[in-house]
């Protein structure tokens, strides 16, 4: 735990991660031996619902319910061993060095606090700013996420904001303590196509200019490949294939190909959409 990160070593290292959820009817294996590393780069994790992509993201922040059984050969953020870190160490990570953006700002923002107060709270929890400085910084952050009228939004409650605006507030709050890694779990699925592109461009811009790492979790393969450097495709708790985003159209795995082919296209007319045929061999444990 006190080991220092060697130069060139990745920021996040996950080796052979397993997450099980025991229940009355048996054990659900949500994640089965996932390994990946993230440096200062943008990694996309793609898969259908139930593929274990969100559970993987949450395991990194140790935000899984108490019933979850997590084991791994390595689960490391910087020099912190997440499996054995104390609660105090985890508090410094969560919202401090790792930011988390969830799907729907309606649920992730506090409905009875103004947007500005929430951003200031995030700042004051992780830095030594005073009240007035935190307010100033919150306004600056709102401006940096391209909100045209930061003063109005600062004093607005979440229900007074649109979905896109709410997500911008969420991003501002997560950027507040200058995290090293941003985990965005379906950040735009609740938004319109046009707002979707704006929010993702904003995330991309902030990640690039601050030199952060990004883990973008989504079910939308083309979208992820546009905004990430690398893409890991998950199915039934395992990574089926990991490849550079630019090479997505050259994907070889049947599952990745199937996901790409079943999308309707604006380019060409197809009478029927090919449906995904799930090969039982995809479920076999991978080395």
């Amino acid at each position: 735990m006190t080991r220092t990160v060697l130069p060139g070593e990745p920021l996040v290292a996950v080796r052979n991660l397993h997450v099980d959820f025991p229940s009355a009817t048996g054990v659900t294996q949500a994640v089965r031996g996932v390994s990946f590393a993230i440096g200062r780069e943008k990694l996309g994790i793609v898969g259908e619902s139930g593929s274990g992509k969100s559970v993987t993201g949450r395991a990194l922040m140790r935000l899984l319910p108490g019933s979850a059984r997590v084991r791994a050969d390595a689960l490391r953020f910087g020099t912190t061993d997440i499996l054995h870190a104390s609660e105090a160490e985890m508090r410094a990570l969560r919202g401090g060095r790792i930011g988390l953006i969830l799907q729907d700002p309606k649920y992730s923002l506090n409905p009875v606090m103004t947007a500005g107060a929430q951003i200031a709270e995030a700042l004051r929890a992780h830095t030594k700013l005073g009240r007035r400085e935190a307010r100033e910084a919150a306004l600056n952050l709102l401006e940096s996420v391209k909100i045209r009228d930061p003063r109005r939004v600062h004093d607005a409650y979440p229900h007074e904001l649109s979905g896109g605006m709410g997500q911008r507030v969420m991003i501002a709050m997560m950027l507040a303590p200058n995290p090293e890694l941003l985990i965005a779990d379906e950040p735009t699925s609740a938004l319109d196509a046009s707002v979707q592109a704006e929010i993702l461009s904003l995330i991309e811009e902030q990640v690039d200019s601050r030199g952060m790492a990004l883990m973008l979790i989504s079910h939308d393969l083309p979208l992820v490949s546009r905004f990430c450097d690398r893409v890991a495709v998950m199915y039934a708790g395992q990574v089926m294939e990991e490849l550079p985003a630019a090479d997505l159209h050259r994907a070889t795995h049947g599952y990745t190909r199937g996901l790409l082919e079943c999308l309707p296209s604006l380019e060409e007319r197809r009478e029927r959409l090919p449906t995904l045929r799930r090969d039982p061999s995809w479920l076999a444990p991978r080395a």
Binding site: L259, C262, R269, L273
Partner: protein
Amino acid sequence: MISASDLDVRFGSNHAVRGVSFDVAEGETFGLVGESGSGKSTVLRAIAGLITEWTGRISVDGRALGRKRDRAFFRTVQMVFQDPYGSLHPRQTVDRILSEPLVVHGVPDAEARIARALEEVALPRTARFRYPHQLSGGQRQRVAIARALVADPRVLLLDEPTSALDVSVQAEVLNLLADLRAARGLTCILVSHNLAVVAHLCGRLAVMQGGRIVEVMDEAALRAGRAVHPHTQDLIRLSHELEGT
């Protein structure tokens, strides 16, 4: 089959739909696209009778519609919503959900009809006595479609029927809708923000912005990108961008 003219909807000071007119021929699938807040779902809900505060004229199958709809209307027109979890009763089994429209309309032969409806939407027979929470998202949307079709409507209103689903499940549901439409000769209106989905199912579509229809075009023009209005051009460009082409 469906005709709307000078349709206006106001919610208090919010003028949500402004003078919308369009016609849908029998057997046609008509698309309504636009961003959220453009009024596309409101148009659909006004036709379905879920919104009563509208002005203008709406007619279905040659009959002008009033604020209140009679039973015959709901026999003709059915709707499928975006979120199948919100639109199915959580404490009713699939069997109960599917038998309700039959009871309401006094349709005989419920047993055989429910079995056929399940078969049509490719749900296993075992699903019949399950509750919605025991089904996957795709299966739930199939139940919602089966419920809409069980009493043999002629018009199907679809409000973002696949946007809550995984892409693999979306493909299955889109194929299912195309098959059912062909088999039953349904007239459909599809509301979606996804141009690729609209192009896949619809022969013609209207683009809405700020409560108005800004452009009506056919599928070929949409695919070829022959749009006149700048907002349509924006939407097409964005769709290509998100498709990664």
